[in-house]
Symmetry: C2
Subunit: 339 residues, 2 copies
């Protein structure tokens, strides 16, 4: 695993006034979820279902797939590691800049690796690997490919295996490839996160969807009892819950936040289709210095994006927060740039 | 993963009057733990520490090792899979009968496998593999090796790598190999479960201890955020909590339970040093039939042990429960044997 992911506030031993470092949406209905789990707390005295079966069945029914098309995972990242493990020794192309764990998981499992820039991929460049890893919408950029465009690429290269990480699909108005697309595509593996959308990444809950044959193989690489009972119960509660946070409002605040940042001379917020985005600093400024100064002088945590392949010391990643917190950061960054 | 582990009551869609199928001790101070976790419920809105660092530090300090001797895992079974993965392609010997996941984890990672019977190992037979997997105390038998005896075997074969699963160490009066033994032994890997002892396996919490060099390698195969926030908080609470359940009482009830079972003609409870044990039925009886009949006729769940390597349709595994529940099973089994 990489050292230097976002949401690393615990390294500083304290809470922050505002935290822009993790791409998690605002938590919703947290009290209702807490009460639900609290009432079922005794389930911690039992082993979890070996493969999260009850939650898996609910997802299968809602999504129009079969349970043998699904593998429940201890967070989407565990799913990524399981896929890379099951495909050990293959030749993989990672479309970048992106989440670093595809590269790490492939490397440790002996994949031959190459890298294709997102813009080149979008312009039609062919991945060289026979396994292709795409994060859609992408992290850290917030760029998104349409389902139609991506499906055409996948169907145009049936001999390649496409691993599409949809962890951020709920942060974007662009519809994602539907889960049931795996039913007719033996060359497609989808990875999803269930806890990002509801703002509860602490519970760890994700899954992989693919043909039954792929899932049978993947399951051999996955230990039993990977999902804890709180994650299973939370997942079932959230699937039944009717609460739908209004994404359009969140994305409107994102654009307002970007526009405010763009008024700071030298600061360039990059385009995004999600609630998080990259900000480019002038070449004589340093992202790590900015992160540290914001912690020390303003009690604010951001994600230094210098350690993403393809980015450098000019980039930080911000996830939109409440308007008053976003305004705090705009003012702090304006002051820092004027120093 | 194997299908057919214990504690599989969820497959039957209901609760049981008594559950002997999982080797988990009686839950303790569950209400205090629940209140502690729910007072901290908001931590689910954050990513967990990437490697469970705060809990890892506490364990290191208590056990007299360094944090770089530890890898926190999503349950001990995830630790077993990570060790087998990091040692992919090695030649492994599994001392059996034992927990099936060593074999499964080694097989999926391309180990050359052989098997050595527990009794032969105890009698001095040499494992052929260069990696040796021993569960101590053993599951499903409840047999235990003394720390002195095991240390002598390990030190007598420094060229072999010994993986000792101590998941059940708290169920047995025989002292386990101390964690700090790894500090001077590059040929020793210890696997521990933190949630069995406190009866909360639903939360998933285990760890691996070894030399810093082994741990550095293992960590590359382990995804970030493997420990959920509830497991981290529960672990810290339980390490600080002064409550010590009285093992001697539990083991005394185990021996009383075994003695009562032994009065049933044809039923042979095997010796154990823990709170769980095997029961051997006559050759014309069937363990799967017994499990099903107990479910249907008596609302009782047991562990059919026929799928353990080295055992067959004559064996079931029982974990001691409350005296009144144990008595229910004695009466039910007496009636079944008389049919």
């Amino acid at each position: 695993m990489l050292h230097g992911h976002g949401d690393d506030g615990y390294r500083y031993g304290r809470e922050f006034k505002a935290n822009f470092s993790s791409n998690v949406w605002l938590p919703t209905r947290l009290e209702a979820l807490r009460d639900h789990l609290f009432a079922r707390f005794n389930c911690v005295t039992r082993y979890p279902e070996a493969a999260g079966e009850s939650l898996e069945s609910m997802i299968a029914e809602i999504q129009g797939v079969r349970v043998d098309n699904l593998l429940m995972c201890n967070g989407a990242t565990a799913g990524i590691y399981t896929v890379a493990h099951a495909l050990h020794g293959r030749r993989s192309t990672v479309v970048f800049p992106t989440f670093s764990e595809y590269e790490d998981a492939c490397r440790v499992n002996g994949h031959a690796l190459d890298f294709l820039q997102w813009d080149a991929f979008v312009a039609g460049a062919e991945p060289e690997g026979d396994v292709v890893w795409v994060c859609n919408p992408d992290n850290p950029t917030g760029a998104a490919l349409s389902a139609d465009w991506l499906r055409a690429r996948i169907d145009g290269r049936p001999g390649k295996l496409w691993v599409i990480d949809q962890a951020y699909m709920d942060f974007c108005l662009e519809p994602a490839l539907a889960l049931k697309e795996v039913l007719t595509r033996p060359n497609l593996i989808l990875v999803r996160s269930k806890t990002k959308r509801f703002g509860i990444p602490g519970l760890r809950l994700g899954y992989v969807a693919a043909s039954a044959e792929h899932i049978r193989t993947l399951a051999r690489f996955s230990p039993p009892w990977s999902l804890n009972v709180m994650a299973i119960e939370a997942g079932k509660f959230l699937l039944k819950d009717r609460f739908e946070p209004v994404l359009a409002e969140y994305l409107a605040e994102t654009q307002r936040f970007r526009a405010a940042l763009a008024t700071i001379p030298g600061v360039e917020p990059l385009p995004t289709q999600t609630g998080y985005f990259l900000v480019r600093l002038p070449a004589d400024r340093d992202s790590t210095q900015l992160k540290n100064d914001l912690i020390e002088q303003h009690d604010i945590l951001i994600r230094d994006a210098a350690n993403f392949r393809g980015l450098d010391h000019r980039y930080v990643r911000l996830a939109t927060q409440k308007p008053e917190h976003n305004q705090l950061l705009v003012e702090a960054l304006r002051a820092w740039m004027a120093e």
